[in-house]
Amino acid sequence: MDEKPEQKETKQLTGDEKAGAGLVEKMKEGGTALKQRAIEEAKGYKDVQDTQIWKSIFRVSHDRSDPRNRSLAVLSNVFLHLHPAKINRDAVRYRYTWGMGGITFYLFIVLTFTGVLLMFYYHPTKVDAFRDILYLEHDVPFGKLLRNMHRWAAHLMVITTWLHMFRVVLTGSYKRPREFNWGVGVVLLVLTLLLSFTGYLLPDDQLGFWAVTVGTNMARATPMLGSEGPFGVQLGMTPFNDVRFGLLGGSIVDSNALLRSYIWHCIGIPLVASIFMAVHFWRIRKDGGISGPAPVMLESEMKAIKKK
């Protein structure tokens, strides 16, 4: 410390230089202090979960073994709160549930994701549709993979829906109080099949064209509403005003049919299906969660029917 006055004397600094040197000193001091503070603060950031950003997003910590936190992890999360905080210990057994309902929902998400990406490359017009598929298959990076995934996920979803229903029947899970939810599930089955079917026409190739031709020809035979169905002619149905005309937007499978099936496929049915799914999941919770594995009941314990 006693060297500083010597320096001042020997160099005979001007006023400006004096002030400058003071500033450098101050900055140096300030810098070290700032550095110290930054290090101190950074130590506090070491645990990401202690940061304000993390806490604002997740509200509760997830990795603690505290039972309360484990419950809150589920309850305070918009996606996870589909679930209760706790479930029966046997309900997680894959052998019982087969996991088919959950997988079906996951496939719906996969299909939405790949579907949205496919929409970027597709025009639902007679001129473009088929070319867009060729473009997708040969030029778009990973386009072929994208289309394949959308197709196979759709097929898989039909399979998992059927197997889910099969399991629900085998375990008698449609019984009271879940009768209504089974009905909602049947509607979802129909919507799944319709989603798959409306997508079939979109590549505008021979396969889709003839499948949809065969499919909608059946609509022509609808009783009372189809031009070739029972009592159709008597009620004034012609190929130009019957239910098939309404489905196709014309009397043949053409550009209007392509547009209609595109809109049903991408907007109409997914919207309706989402609403039914919301009800389906909500009712699972409200009807007491997953049905089992429940303790077996005995014949001797059957209650007599309540007489009103």
Partner: protein, 367 residues
């Protein structure tokens, strides 16, 4: 002989079936290339997968049902045990918590399932390409022109019924019938666990419908070739094959048969007799069908000397269930059961084995 080759009876039967199938395939498949072309078509892969998935999950369900059924028998014989038992086939020890946290025990399973499904999808999508045919051409009819595999059951039904039934009425009845199912099943037992003993009829009916549906799809996928003609698996699809349509209506079939001629039933081919005849046939079918299902509901399989059916010997219990069923529930069930579960196979046999086209011909519709 508790040696290494100790096969149970069931496994032995299974093995026998496989051997017979292999032998049949070796002797009767003329055209392996054709069989391979059909079953390796990317769009048919799902139904090939179903051929394995459905038996596997049926087995898985039956396995757990039998475990529960054994438990039910044990508990019914020992009321003391029934009071203390935790009543599940799943293992349990005193002190184990009844409930577990969803985070992480369920969420991790879901995550794992999502990862596995994603991997499966990626592999499937890399290995197999989604089909793309030539651009749509209304002037060039595809032959055979098939619906996607999950609708082939409906398309196959077109062989047996007019389009308004196969394409509109049947699907509607099937869907409504499925929705009605919980409301006509008056059995309070078997809610939330696998069992066959307590629900033999309900499970049996559903399996009947489900397996029939899969069977129709399999016929539509593997057997129907060009012109929707029946080709056995392994037969070459002949695009020039012609089948002369020799199907006749039931009233003509009877009127022109030897017995019909002897009894002077020729008038059945003319209106209004053919209308009345068809009405009576359909009405009679509903009555006989209902009697059949009623018999199936209450029959004591023990008394029948059919060994495999002795697994479900509860006629007294079934009668108790029937007493709980309201008339509305009973009639609703009978309507759907006869209209779908019975009408479908009966018409299939009439059409394929007896070449009968319609059973009821009217000026407005034919059944």
């Amino acid at each position: 002989m508790a040696g290494r080759f100790n096969l149970s009876k069931g496994k032995l039967i299974g093995l026998g079936v496989v051997v017979v199938l292999v032998l049949l395939a070796v002797f009767f498949v003329e055209d392996w290339q054709q069989l391979w072309t059909i079953s390796s078509a990317p769009d048919n892969i799902p139904i090939v997968a179903m051929l394995f998935l459905v038996p596997f999950f049926t087995w898985l369900g039956i396995k757990q049902s039998r475990a529960n059924d054994r438990l039910i028998v044990a508990l019914e014989q020992d009321p003391k045990l029934a009071k203390t038992s935790h009543r599940k086939a799943e293992p349990w020890r005193p002190g184990w918590a009844k409930e577990i946290h969803v985070w992480p025990y369920l969420v991790r399973i879901e995550f794992l399932a999502a990862v596995i499904v994603t991997v499966v999808l990626f592999v499937w999508s890399i290995v197999l390409n989604a089909p793309l045919e030539e651009p749509a051409n209304p002037n060039l009819t595809m032959n055979p022109s098939k619906a996607p595999w999950y609708f082939l059951g409906l398309q196959e039904m077109l062989v047996y019924f007019d389009p308004w039934i196969a394409g509109v009425v049947m699907p509607s009845i099937i869907m409504i019938g499925l929705m009605v199912f919980p409301y006509v099943d008056s059995n309070p037992l078997g809610n939330g666990y696998y069992t066959l003993k307590q629900r033999r009829f309900a499970v049996g009916m559903f399996c009947w419908g489900f397996l029939m549906w899969i069977l129709l799809i399999v016929i539509g996928t593997f057997i129907r070739g060009p012109g929707w003609i029946w080709f056995w698996p392994g037969q070459t699809w002949d695009h020039n094959a012609v089948v002369f349509d020799k199907n006749v209506d039931l009233h003509d079939w009877i009127a022109t048969s030897r017995i019909g001629k002897a009894l002077h039933l020729g008038f059945l081919s003319a209106n209004p007799f053919k209308f009345i005849f068809g009405l009576l046939v359909v009405g009679g079918f509903y009555i006989l069908g209902a009697l059949f299902f009623h018999w199936l509901m209450t029959v004591d399989f023990k008394k029948l000397s059919l060994r495999p059916l002795r697994l479900f010997p509860q006629d007294a219990f079934e009668k108790k269930l029937l007493a709980r069923t309201s008339l509305l529930q009973y009639l609703t069930f009978q309507f759907f059961a006869v209209s779908v579960l019975l009408a479908m196979p009966v018409k299939l046999i009439l059409r394929l084995a007896l070449t009968i086209k319609y059973v009821w011909v009217t000026p407005w519709f034919n059944i």
